[in-house]
């Protein structure tokens, strides 16, 4: 749990920036960042204030081939991936690899027919696993509503289901969007107001019929932000 108490939150954020938390705790923080602005600010505080300490590590000349490898890896048809990863603040803190998600998206852009009319331009979210930083789901919001497609073969834990949630930009509470069918395909005719560009989509582990409380009761396992393509 991320503490509500400001002092405890400051300490936890400091421990996160120092890097002393165990991997499970660190992942819990990275998941919470999407919706917890106070935590983001606390982490930004420590990153900024402790930064001068990094000068105590002696600079060293890296092997020359590193730049060539970087150049080769970024030389892709760049436009779609960059637009989608014009990410909002939560992603700033993610330490994960984005290549898989970007590749999934390029695939989508290549196979889905595009409509030239601006209002019908679909919004796309690649939901990444909050543990392995792998692309798990592709969500496309177009004139015909939202379609969610599994990119992962992973199944929910036994006797549990996955539930989809939407979090509008600046909202503090997620809105339940329904339990994801076992087929890994889900369609919604429309999304509630506010769930458009910049909104976060998240998938949590819940009891078979979905969360009984209207708020996530299990851990968030996939998360992504709706972006224009």
């Amino acid at each position: 749990m991320i503490p509500q108490d400001p002092r405890e939150r400051e300490v936890l954020a400091g421990e996160y920036v120092l890097g002393v938390l165990d991997p499970d705790q660190a992942r819990e923080i990275e998941t919470a960042l999407a919706t917890n602005e106070a935590l983001r600010d606390a982490i930004a505080f420590w990153e900024r204030k402790l930064h001068p300490l990094s000068s105590l590590a002696e600079p060293a000349k890296p092997p020359a081939e590193i730049w060539n490898a970087v150049e080769a890896r970024i030389a892709r048809p760049p436009k779609p991936s960059r637009n989608v990863w014009s990410a909002s603040a939560p992603w700033r803190w993610s330490t994960g690899a984005f290549a898989a998600a970007a590749a999934a998206l390029l695939l989508y852009v290549a196979v889905v027919p595009r409509t030239p009319v601006a209002p019908s331009t679909p919004l796309v979210a690649v939901l990444q696993s909050s543990q392995a930083h792998k692309a798990g789901w592709l969500a496309v919001l177009g004139p015909n509503g939202l379609s969610l497609t599994a990119l992962t073969t992973e199944k929910p834990p036994a006797a549990h289901a996955w539930e989809l949630w939407g979090i509008a930009p600046h909202a503090t509470r997620p809105v339940p969007l329904g339990v994801i069918p076992a087929t890994g395909e889900m369609r919604l005719a429309a999304l509630p107001k506010g769930l458009s560009v910049g909104a976060t989509l998240a998938i949590s582990i819940e009891p078979p019929g979905g969360s009984p409380t209207g708020l996530p009761t299990g851990p968030v396992v996939y998360i992504g932000v709706l972006r224009s393509t």
Binding site: S54, A60, A99
Partner: protein, 183 residues
Amino acid sequence: MDQLASLASPDVLVEAVARGSERALKRLYALESSRLYGIALRIVRRPEIAAEVLQDAFVQIWQNAKSFAPEKGAAAAWLTGIVRFRALDAVRRHGREILTGDPALGDTAVEPDALAKLDADADAQALRRCLETLEDNQRRSVLLAFIDGLSHVEIASRLSAPLGTVKSWVRRGLIALKGCLAP
């Protein structure tokens, strides 16, 4: 004259990278790679892994530059954060030959004048003043974690102290720092 070549500030360059400029990324690499490689090497201790960290970090910088929020801090600190977290990840994945095999590990943190090498600028000196108000073991724990990337358990081993004691040093060190550094 290449206009980008004359731009020396990481803040300006990260902004240009966010707009998709590969030349700005190359310039940023020329400007920052030695500093960042030094930070990675200090944490992972092995050149081939530090190289992997630096490469992955620059790919991530390319992909995430648009999410850099200048109002929350300088670009240099953002870059450092990316490299540190990638280095810490690498240590968790590869393990680390530490402590026994590497007598130099963590030496900076326990040198009495460790903080003398900090930059002369105002932020660094403010941090130094605050760190100097901490008890020795609190300060050493914070430095070992930040600079050498040591976990609680590794700090306990380095300082020959019980784990719970080390956790409390880190915690109390952070609380004292927060009080001293807060605007």
